[in-house]
């Protein structure tokens, strides 16, 4: 236990203390200057009556759900596909992983210029091929932009989750498939009865990362749409940034920060608990 001292100290200093400070901050009004003023529950009451916050919560929930629903099947499919040891699959795997190597800002700027309705590549493509559905106001149409953002975030993160699934699949003992084959299982049955149960911890890990990650997602949205058009892509983390650093309302921003942290931690703990991940019991052959 002696060795836990310094890490615990750092953990408290940089995680626990600031978190407590944020909770305290959520009960004051402060614009960054002078002394904070005690506000009681005013900031918290504001959260429940603030239409922008309500919109942000809705947008965030949509982003989390859509991101999970879009990213999981694609990552799983690609992961299982690239887990094979054939050489051409290695080539594919390398190509799939490329977006992972790009910086988020680079991805955002790249897509922003591709989707530009006047000078963008998609518009040019639509003009030269006559495919008029490509000529959309991708980042300015309130009915479209959130889905575009979901797609780009998926494009950014699917490679990482693909990698997780591919690694997970490669660790499933070959003997299980041989046994299933002897029992006359079809490939479909092998997927449902062997692969997926064996991958359950990978699914949970990837799910936690996806859900908590998209819950606090910020960068691409900030660079590409800055929450717009209107409030249609203003996720909670962006709202918090705006309230804190553009509106100088640090007390109310702390309310949003506390809510984001608590919800994020609660979801992570919940997923770990209900999935049996916490017990970490290995179901693999040979493990105790």
């Amino acid at each position: 236990m002696l060795g836990a001292g310094p890490p615990m100290l750092l953990f408290c200093l940089f995680i626990v203390v600031p978190m407590i400070a944020a909770v305290l901050m959520s009960f004051v009004k402060w614009n960054g200057l002078g002394a904070p003023r005690w506000a009681g529950g005013a900031n918290w009451a504001e959260f429940f009556s603030d239409p922008v916050a309500r919109t942000s919560v809705e947008v965030t929930v949509k982003l989390v759900v859509l991101s999970y629903v879009v990213q999981t099947p694609i990552s799983l499919g690609l992961g299982l596909f690239t887990a094979g040891r054939q050489r051409y699959k290695t080539v594919y795997a390398t190509i799939f992983v490329l977006p992972l190597l790009m910086s988020t800002a680079g991805i955002a700027l790249l897509w922003e210029s591709l989707l530009d309705p006047n000078f963008g590549a998609l518009t040019a493509l639509s003009k030269s091929t006559g495919l008029s559905f490509l000529n959309q106001n991708w980042l300015g149409d309130p009915h479209l932009t959130l889905y575009v953002v979901v797609a780009i975030i998926a494009w950014q993160f699917i490679p990482f989750h693909t990698l997780l699934y591919a690694v997970g699949r490669r660790q499933v003992p070959q003997a299980l498939y041989e046994a299933a084959l002897l029992d006359g299982a079809s490939p479909w049955q092998m997927l449902w009865r062997v692969t997926l149960p064996q991958l359950r911890y990978t699914i949970v890990t990837s799910g936690i990362l996806m859900i908590v990650g998209s819950l606090t997602y910020f960068d691409i949205i900030y660079i590409m749409t800055d929450g717009g058009p209107g409030y249609t892509t203003r996720v909670l983390s962006l709202d918090m940034y705006n309230v804190a650093f553009l509106q100088d309302q640090y007390g109310y921003a702390s309310v949003l920060a506390v809510i984001l942290s608590v919800v994020g931690i609660a979801i992570a703990i919940g997923l770990v608990r209900f999935s049996g991940f916490a017990s970490m019991a290995s179901q693999q052959e040979g493990a105790a």
Binding site: L33, G34, P117, N137, G140, G228, M240, F245
Partner: protein, 450 residues
Amino acid sequence: MHRVSAPRIRGRRWLAAGAAVATAVVLAACGSAAGGGKTSASGGGAKGKTVTMWLVTTGPSPANTAVENLVKSFEKSHPGDHIDYNFVENQSYKQKIQLAMGAGNAPTIFWTWGGGTLQQYIKAGDVASLGHPSWMSDFLPSSLGAVTDQGKLYGIPVEGTQPVYFFYNKQIFSKYHLTFPKTWNELLSTVKTLKSHGVTPISLAEGDQWPGLMYLEYLTDRIGGPSVAQALQSNKKGAWSNPAVTKALSDIQQLVRAGAFQSGYDSLKFSGGGSDALVYSGKAAMQLMGDWDISSILGSDPSFVKGGNLGMAPFPTVAGGTGNPADLAGNTASYVSISSKATATQKKIAEEFFADALTSPSYAKSEVGAGEVPVTKGASPMFAGQSLASYDKTIYNSVEHAPSFQYSWDQAMTPQVANVMLTNLAQVFELSETPAKFESLLNNQAASGS
């Protein structure tokens, strides 16, 4: 770059959510410390006869050199005094100075855009009043409003003025035998004509939100005169319901409905250069923008500007409006102020720097040389021989003779109101919010957010 190209883009880009949470949390920690005890009065840790100065920059520019030379000559003529200056990148400056102010650690001399943010610092007792210095009369009167609070002066112009005009493609206008519209109705018929020829009438970078604000500023002034904006900026109760604001907002939506703006105007950003490109490539006929647009277009397409194709015109008048057609809107200037936490010696040196150096005609001249339009009186002859002299001279004369020069609202108002105003105005431009809803939201924000 010739001028500060994007002075109003607030906030630091490329911040991850995690970092934002962490910063908010760290700020929280700083705040409780700053709220508790008294902090050192040395201002940036400087001692004795050294003063610190923070200035904003968008990168290496001749304007920076002008300031550097000014400091050198000041130190020469004031032996023993030392000014320790630092240029801070434009985007991150607002947070840096806000943190330093909150921690009681501001430099002796700090850069400011004046207006609502400076007013917050003044209210918190962080800014030293300059009283009524004799050099006030050296500057154009319209340039000092942004650093004046309750009759007292708190800053001095350090860099040039940036009023807003329509910039247009002269080739397009001559091709269709058009002259630049002088009234709002003429503008609407020009829009119609251009559309019938397949040209986008107006380029708008509303993805940045502040370009749309320029329309509201000018329309409000043309319709109701400068007193309307003054009432808004002082957070008068119900000021946003002024009929001039209502008319301005519905005029904006009339322009949108007329199809004046390019497709995707609500996501295009000025910083990407796309809205300029539409104008100089001949896809769009005009753009309402701050005067930095001249250097911005010059940077992207020098032959377009040098060939005399870039036209510049004042905002049209509105029938029945009471505002003076010569009124301007935009950034009156950039300023420096003195921190109240500085020592008496430091304040004295800073005041001498203001009175002896920043007001000197030779500094105004080097500003002109750096491509700025200074707000010093009598600068008109200084533009002779400059590469953009014709534009600069027109700008200077219009500022000199403007009955009112209203300061950009997003700078003039408190940050609490400005941010909400920008986001909701973008929705007015998208026709997804009615003028009435905009007004009631802003009235509420002004009542609660100040």
